[in-house]
Amino acid sequence: MMASILDGFCLFPHALAAGLLIGLVCSVLGVFVILKRVVFIGITLSEVAALGIALSMLLQLPPLLGAAALTLLVVVLLALPIEPARLPRNALMGIVFVAASALAVLVVASSGFGLREVKTLLYGDLILTSSHDLALMAAVLIPVLAAVLLFLRPITYTFLDREAAKVLGIKVMGWELLYFCCLGLAVSAASKAAGALLVFCYLVAPAAAGLLLGRRLAVVMMISASVALLGTITGLGWSLHNDLPANQAVVVALTALFVVAAMIRGLIKMLKHS
């Protein structure tokens, strides 16, 4: 079995590299998505990126260009300090989410693409990652991760206690915008290969496991990244061995690892109380 999985990895090295790269970056960014309680933004941006990719294909533009332009536009709109008096921001995100989901389907339906392209576009497929896709992804995801890690302190302080941070002279709006632009770019770069479902899963499941097990931000991020990498290897290996859809297999592996983390947490709590 191990030999057949390793053969699969050798056959699709770009798929493995793309999964590991997307997993690493999204799992680190996802820690703040959960801490900031904006989980919904993950799936909203993923759907917006899918719409951007669909529009790009229709207009024969590079997919990343459309995805990045649309997600950054949504990020900037959502980051504006305008609090609608009667509506919470989540409601606006919900409207953007449903509109983007429906429009993406309508755009691809009217484009004349085949069913396979449509499915790949909407759900992504790691297996189809080409060396060009991988290079493009790395060119976006590595600087995004570097920026978030470099500015981790002001970003953390901004999210931890916005008001005190402001008094301390931290440019909270700027740091918030930087983080959400990084998130938008990461989601757009990852969406073509990973699709909305897997990108969302990478943002939420590993970070949730990290937060269950870690007590320091750096440790939480390391656990989150490790869960994402392990989930990618096991999920992809499982899909290659059993000829299953890769992205969905990785999602199942990541959620299973989250359940394991929850059980470990429960066990630790039990041992502490006994």
Binding site: Y157, D161, A165, L168, I170, L211, R215, L217, V220
Partner: protein, 222 residues
């Protein structure tokens, strides 16, 4: 002899939309003073503090400050800090060093020592490694005071630092503040929900009501 003024508010008006919260506040706070702002909920105490530290912009009037360039130490209401964050108390306190360090510099050994010293001063030695959620209400408040104190600001501004605490913790916090004011000479302005525990802490209180202020002498002074 009157103290040198450190904060002067002239004709201060603050509104949230159509609701006018402060209506022409004139207030002078002397250097090294201890001024509790007292008054009922919704009177405008927090808004006045927020206007002084620049978190809300006055619709009319001016605020003149005469303290050093560094920002004042600020202790927000306890609920504003997210206890779910996986950040130890020592790092929350170290946040107060940000104006001196910026985003690129680490505090180094001296920065760590300053944090340890301020935690010790507030009776939180041995709690620096804990998460904020693991602390009691009184300890959380002391951690926030430690964060405000760590950069040795001239002015300390506190928003209801004893809210939600039992009497013992309230009195402990007020004792710490009294010491910080008398021993270090720091100016303290704080919103406070009642006057019963202020005897011996401050000579005068500022009564805030219907968006206006009135200075009153306290009954006893310790």
């Amino acid at each position: 002899m009157p103290k040198e003024p450190i904060i002067i508010c002239r004709g201060l008006h603050v509104s949230y939309g159509r609701q006018q919260v402060l209506r022409g506040v004139n207030l002078t706070i002397g250097k090294g003073g201890f001024l509790p702002l007292v008054g009922p909920n919704g009177a405008g105490k927090t808004t006045l503090l927020r206007a002084i530290i620049g978190l809300v912009r006055p619709s009319f009037g001016t605020i003149e400050t005469h303290f050093a360039k560094e920002p004042p130490g600020y202790v927000p209401q306890q609920g504003l800090i997210d206890a779910m964050f996986p950040v130890p108390v020592s790092q929350i306190v170290a946040m107060g060093l940000y104006p001196k360090l910026g985003w690129w510099r680490r505090g180094g050994r001296s920065g760590k020592q300053v944090v340890v010293d301020v935690l010790e001063r507030l009776g939180l030695s041995g709690h620096g490694h804990k998460g904020f959620a693991e602390l009691s209400g009184g300890m959380r408040q002391k951690a926030l005071i430690a964060r405000a104190l760590v950069s040795s600001p001239e002015v300390l501004i506190l928003d209801e630092p004893t809210a939600g605490l039992d009497r013992e913790s309230q009195s402990e916090i007020l004792d710490h503040l009294k010491q910080i004011n008398r021993r270090d000479g720091r100016t303290i302005i704080m919103a406070h929900h009642g006057e019963d525990m202020l005897n011996g802490v401050a000579k005068v209180v500022c009564q805030v009501q219907h968006g206006q202020v009135m200075m009153r002498r306290q009954g006893h002074d310790g």
